[in-house]
């Protein structure tokens, strides 16, 4: 009796849940896009290049979700058949995927290192097998560059530095204390951005002191708590500024200020991203500046770079190509301009 009732109720609710997920999909076309384009690429059989793209993230994270579609589109356009893997930032998993890719003997490998330090063996294996490797998004360590044909993407360290530059600029010599919200502990991008910011602050404007730093794990809620607690620990009166390694975290940080009845506009706040979360904050003046990072530029140029190698434009003996993504500083001045309009 009770059993059947539960069964009935659940049956009716499963339908609703189905509808929900449909809702999610609708709210976020990109995921499905990605799937479609993969198939397209797959069917354009004949004279296409076979390329493996070894990425540490995909549709499981915000950036990857907007990185993939342009990449796939460009690949289809250039007649490149992409096989994409996602190691979820597990170095061992990516290394193993690299072995698989090398064994598959593709025309080329696009590599986004999960952990730069652990990638050399993969590069050597690829070189030994005569497979050209193009690095995307996050570059390998200097000593490993000679094993790769080129790089396109951001300079995570540079982004941190740029964000620091904005900070120094707006602070303009005043003696202030700030708090720093980092990405997921141990994550290489998090580390690079963090160091880039810290060291630039130290060199360019020693008048700014970083009073405390805690991880916000890339998500707003954890960042808000961490920020609020740092305010407590260093004493709110000593804090005039805040830096977060990405927009969704700075959103949390700003909410932490609001929650204490403080006006973010009175604080010096910078971050990195230029996302649909960050830019509105810049426009509204709560966020003083962020560093725009174009996921679509990133995705497209990975393929373009690879293509330049496949088509023979770039050869092994050429100087290593490095396409650095323009990282425009987004401030109240240009936040609403078209070219830095939020795309992810």
């Amino acid at each position: 009796m009770r059993k059947s009732r539960i069964g009935l109720a659940s049956a009716s609710l499963i339908a609703v849940a189905g509808l929900t997920l449909a809702g999610c999909a609708a709210a976020d076309e990109t995921a499905t896009d990605a799937a479609d384009t993969t198939e397209e690429a797959a069917v354009t059989g004949a004279d296409t290049y076979e390329v493996y793209a070894l990425l540490p993230q995909g549709n499981d994270q915000a950036y990857g979700t907007t990185y993939l579609p342009p990449m796939l589109a460009k690949a289809a356009e250039l007649g490149i058949n992409l096989t994409i893997t996602n190691s979820e930032y597990d170095g061992d998993k990516q290394a193993s995927e690299c072995e698989v890719a090398v064994a598959a003997q593709p025309d080329g490998i696009i590599l986004w290192p999960a952990i730069a330090d652990t990638i050399r063996p993969c590069l050597e294996a690829a070189q030994a097998a005569g497979i050209p490797v193009w690095i995307t998004n996050a570059d390998v360590n200097p000593e490993d560059t000679e094993l790769t044909y080129g790089y396109s993407g951001t300079d995570s360290y540079g982004q941190g530095a740029a964000s620091a530059e904005i900070m120094c600029e707006i602070v303009d010599g005043a003696e202030i204390g700030i708090i720093q919200i980092n990405g997921l502990t141990g994550n290489s991008v998090a580390t690079l951005r963090g160091n880039g910011f810290k060291e630039t602050i130290a060199s360019n404007c020693p008048n700014v002191t970083i009073l405390a730093e805690q991880p916000g794990d890339w998500v707003p809620d954890k960042s808000q708590i961490a920020a609020s607690e740092m305010l407590t620990s260093v004493g709110i009166e000593n804090v005039q500024g805040m830096y977060a390694a990405d927009d969704s975290m700075i959103k949390g940080g700003i909410d932490a200020l609001k929650a204490r009845g403080l006006d973010p506009a009175d604080f010096f706040i910078t971050s990195i991203g230029g996302t649909f979360l960050g830019n509105p904050l810049v426009v509204s003046g709560e966020l003083d500046g962020t560093i725009f990072q174009s996921s679509s530029w990133d995705g497209e140029n990975a393929v373009i770079g690879m293509y330049s190698v496949l088509s023979g434009e770039v050869t092994a003996d050429d100087e290593r190509v490095a396409l650095y993504m323009p990282n425009p500083k987004v401030t109240a001045a240009n936040a609403s301009d078209a070219e830095v309009a939020p795309e992810w």
């Binding site: 499981d60 193993s96 698989v100 050597e124």
Partner: protein, 341 residues
Amino acid sequence: MSQTQTIQIGQRETTFFGKLRLKIARRTEGRAVILLAVVLIVVSLTEPLVFTAYQVSLGRIALIGLVALGLTAVILMGELDLSVASTLAVSGVVMALIPDVRLGVVVALGVGLLIGLINGFFVAVVGINSFIATLGMLFALRGLAFILSDEAPVRIVDTDAGIAFGLALIGPLTPRVLIFILAFVVLQIFVSRVKAGREFFAVGGNRQAAYDAGIPVKRRIFTGFMISGFVASLAGVINTLERTAADPRAGLTVLLASFAAAIIGGNYLKGGRGSIVGTLIGATALGVLQVAFTLSGVQVPVQEIFIGLILLLAVTTDPANLRAVLGSIRSVLQGRLKFQS
């Protein structure tokens, strides 16, 4: 008169097939074998490369399987070790921090043994449920890995040694694969031929009986945890060498994967039932599947759904469970149908 009287226990099989049937009936890896067969057939049709590039597949199997082997030793005794992934990370970091590679390896493996010792102490001596004790270690050791590594990957000093380590040693087999095979053989012999190993089944199957029979249960538990700790650190060392760097976040996907392998391999979490062979088969099935996924570039979410379904299938189709469910369904129907007719 009683002397002449004898009582017959259990069935006697004389024919060859009878004996064979009995042997099979006594094994626990049935479902794992079936799964493996299915996976192999499907993969051979869709991604034959998995087999042509078998050394790669072997590498992946070794990656998943090594930790799982150690874990099995603990599971056989009805205990759990959640700390293996963190152990892997810590020992990796420790090794990378030590300039001299040889010394590093030794110390790292020592760390693994020490962790096993600590787990064993809490479980056997203090008497904490291993699930909880190792849960604590899971957090503590992960934290330790971050502290030691200053929250960033640590490169080993002698990277060339690392690179060399990653290359094939005998034929197409890399040291990782060879070590994995070695570990399998040693553990298999240990639990099937060595007295102490056999007694793992007693500790897991009927602990009171083991005590009463004078089996040093505590020592066995220590042994088990030290095996899993050692093997986990071994995996940490291998990864660190092959990657030329140690990541404090390493092994995030290892814990779940190795559990999956052990379970699919027919190991019974309450202990006393299972086998190292089963774990090997489970790991092989998972490894081949993952390589196939990678080759065909299936989205990670889809892969996760696949693995999840297989795992769910594996636990729900435990013969005993299945018989119970089918039985109860049938008995319910039985009553009703007969009643109406």
